[in-house]
């Protein structure tokens, strides 16, 4: 690859912060006393960990939306599938410590009278296999879906809506108890991961660090893609798809590649998210969630990977804050935030920062055009 050439100034700052957090947060949580002003409380660590996972997810969404013009309203599906893969591993780790003390079957299977483990649960007690599935399952779904959709040139809002249909269908399917994924209750009450107790501070901080590293890694992967000639073609596809075709590029392959990569990153985010929040259930497939992910990206600034991560952080921190601060009225605040951002920061928070610094130096981030992605046929 092109080594450090892919990191611009913005990216450098971003990576510095993320990697810094990966080291400092655990250090302060474990090393410093509760009373120390710099101590990061046990409450904050998993919370920050959750935000970081969301940030990675947002980066994944931004890759397909910001650079390839594919607005996915179904990325929650990939996120959740990655989460379920990890969740299944964690369930198997419980072993005989379930309430029914069944060494093999998770509790929900015991009371649904499963006699033995369904085939699709096989192997999930082995971490490497589970980890493989974290990438493979979302990747495979994305490949299948994208292969058909891009080949038959489904674009714009039509594509967005069928991605939504996809996640909606999956949600209904996973809600069914007959599916063997725990139905509405999903997978929960995890005990430990890789032998470490999931509720131990050490594990928590380790998970946070892992998430931070994953975010940094994911960012670098996306960055490598978008700064390559491949990335230039992607942007070309976003801005003038048919023109790109007439230049002889197989647009569908270009889309498919970044679609699958994005799905896998989303899956990874989900896998890191589950052990930190302690539950995965079909609610994660809800179309509303997928819409929110898009909103994080828009708030942060589309087409700038850093902005996506920033947006995820802002919106979710805001959510945490509002739901505690004004439980009755927080939706007003959140809704207002979305409206105001669209009206006054068309290029998101980062866009604002960019336009402030524009005077001195041009931002290298390709600012999104008047978003052609979802133009209904007129």
């Amino acid at each position: 690859m092109r080594g450090l050439g892919i990191i611009d100034r913005k990216g450098a700052v971003f990576l510095a912060i993320v990697l810094g957090a990966a080291v400092l947060v655990p250090a302060s949580n474990l090393g410093l006393a509760e009373t120390n002003p710099l101590h990061v409380s046990d409450y904050l660590v998993p919370l920050l960990g959750k935000y970081v996972c969301y940030a990675l997810l947002a980066v994944a969404v931004d890759l397909v939306w910001g650079y390839c013009g594919v607005l996915s309203l179904g990325h929650g599906a990939f996120f959740a599938l990655g989460g379920y893969a990890m969740g299944m591993y964690l369930m198997r780790q419980i072993g005989p410590r379930g309430v029914y003390g069944n060494p093999v079957l998770p509790d929900f299977m015991v009371f649904l009278n499963y006699k033995e483990l369904p085939w699709f649960w096989w192997g999930f007690d082995v971490f490497p296999f589970a980890l493989l599935m974290v990438f493979l399952v979302p990747g495979a779904l994305a490949f299948l879906f994208g292969w058909f959709a891009f080949r038959s040139r489904v674009t714009g809002v039509y594509l967005s809506i069928i991605t939504q249909a996809m996640t909606f269908a999956l949600m209904l399917a996973f809600f069914r108890n007959d599916m063997g994924f725990g139905g509405n209750n999903g997978l929960t009450d995890f005990k430990d991961i890789l032998g470490f107790s999931i509720s131990a501070d050490g594990t928590r901080t380790a998970l946070f660090a892992a998430s931070a590293l994953a975010l940094a890694g994911g960012y670098l992967v996306c960055r490598a893609l978008v700064t390559s000639k491949y990335g230039k073609v992607l942007v070309a596809v976003r801005d003038a798809e048919s023109r790109t075709r007439f230049l002889g590029y197989r647009v569908e392959n270009y889309k498919l590649l970044c679609w699958v990569v994005s799905a896998m990153l989303a899956g990874l985010a989900g896998a890191l998210y589950v052990p930190q929040v302690g539950i995965i259930n079909p609610g994660e497939f809800a179309p509303a969630n997928s819409i929110e992910m898009v909103i994080w990206v828009a708030v942060g600034g589309r087409g700038t990977l850093v902005g996506a991560a920033l947006g995820a952080l802002i919106v979710n921190a805001g959510k945490t804050w509002f739901t505690g601060m004004l439980p009755e009225a927080w939706l007003f605040a959140l809704g207002a935030l979305f409206v105001l951002v669209t009206l006054f920061l068309p290029r998101g928070v980062l866009g604002l920062w960019a336009s402030l610094t524009e005077g001195r130096r041009k931002t290298t981030a390709p600012a999104p055009p008047a978003m052609p992605a979802a133009k209904p046929a007129e």
């Binding site: 607005l71 879906f145 058909f148 959709a149 038959s152 040139r153 489904v154 674009t155 809002v157 039509y158 809506i161 069928i162 939504q164 249909a165 996809m166 909606f168 269908a169 209904l172 399917a173 809600f175 069914r176 048919s242 179309p287 509303a288 819409i291 898009v294 909103i295 828009a298 009755e328 009225a329 939706l331 007003f332 959140l334 809704g335 207002a336 935030l337 979305f338 409206v339 951002v341 669209t342 009206l343 068309p346 008047a370 978003m371 992605a373 979802a374 133009k375 209904p376 046929a377 007129e378």
Partner: protein, 574 residues
Amino acid sequence: MNDQASQPFSRTHCEKPKDCARTARSARRLLGYVFLLAALTFLSGVQPAAIGAASAQPASAPLAGADLAPALALLGTDSYGDTDAALGRLAVSTNTRAADIVEAIRDGRLLFDPQSKAVFLRMPDGAVTDAATGAAVGAPPAGLRPVRVNNRVRRAIDAAAGALALLSPDNQKRLAAAAAVFKSRDVSALPILDAALAKEGDPKVKTALEQARAAIIVASQSVSEPERVSAARLIAARGDQDALAILSSLPPNSPDAVKAAAADGIEAINRSLAMWAVAQNVWYGLSLGSVLLLAAIGLAITFGVMGVINMAHGEMVMLGAYTTYVVQEIIRTSAPFLFGWSLAIALPLAFLFTAIVGIIIERTVIRFLYGRPLETLLATWGISLILQQAVRSVFGPTNKEVGAPSWMSGAFDIGQMSITYNRLWIIVFSLLVFFALLLVLKRTALGLYVRAVTQNRRMAGAMGIRTGRIDALTFGLGSGIAGIAGVALSQIDNVSPNLGQGYIIDSFMVVVFGGVGNLWGTLVAAFGLGVANKLLEPFAGAVLGKILILVLIILFIQKRPRGLFALKGRAVEA
């Protein structure tokens, strides 16, 4: 625990099955006498006194010339068992007030005094009278409580009323009575049935009576075999679920001929029912489709025509539903007589209200976002959150009651398929809305401007069309239609702040599936998906059915990337 506290359970003395059984049995026996006595009275106009003698059973002796007093005494004890028994007595009472009292019990207008156990009857006009005499009571004692009714008592009421009605001069009443007997299949009803049949003039009622009679004799040992066979045939001719029930529940010791006849009947009925079932499912599909259409049609304007990814669409529907609620509340409190019209009144108001809300949204937010469809998604999503929370804080998070006017409740049958009125009306209504909208867009100046603006904003502007205003009006129109959809949906779904969320996804599916910007596409898509869904449901079940539909949509879009009715040719790429 004071006696007031123990009140509710004093009535539970019939918990021991023995008691219940006894009361039930006695009730049935009494019912028998009712028929018998009534029959006799009817045949020979002898005066009541003679009747006791005529019916020689000793058990009936206390009933002879039954007077209201014992019944009323039972009614004063506030116990379901007694009430049940009392109804039995009332039914045989020749006192002209009996019917009124039965009716009063049903309507909860029969009151009793917990202390004196005296029973009073509140007339529909509110005046309290002495139940026994009907004489107006100047100062009714305080703490009167209505005689309470439960399912068991309700059944007794129906039975008694039905029994009396078999000979009522009113055709409808006789018809209902016949149906009631058909249900109860009480052997002791035979004599009066025969009597009624003998004098029955109305053919419709006659068949009903005959079927009731057949239902009884087909299972009775005391009837000759050929008669029972023909009875079986007669019932089979009904061809409906009830007939099936009777034929399939024949006593095992019935003669083979009867059994055979029943078997043939069952087979025939099942065959016809299977065919009707398909028709029924199609109907269900159509009515589901009409709901989808209603939900989507407003979106077909704001999203389909204007290209605004309007996530607040569902909330417009919700606002429409709440408008209906408010209207009904006002009517309930200030003008109850208008209730039948509540929906009619709500429609224009809902349209205006949501349209205005829509226009405000358009002017304050959306107009800055044209040409940036995805920002509209973001902003309208925010708006939808705000609207939901607003409704939640104004009306509270719980469901609100929206009543159905009488003309929208109930059902009627076509062959073996039952059509509920509210579904029927909703289908009709959705089509009306659709074609009205079509007219507006195709025939009016507004429609012309709308199409002009949406097709080429700059050109339209150049031609002096005030595009801003047209945008506002168009969005208002779309929102308004969503509003009136809400009025209809309030009849079949929750009226709660989450109402809209339930429809937004389906709406988008329908509009996109039909082809954005094509109203006809929306129509076909809505009904197509509805019917497909309902035809799948019996085999796949509700959940899998829906999943299959979604997969079907995904695959279909592969074949037609621009929906059902996509514009072809250069225009698309232009």
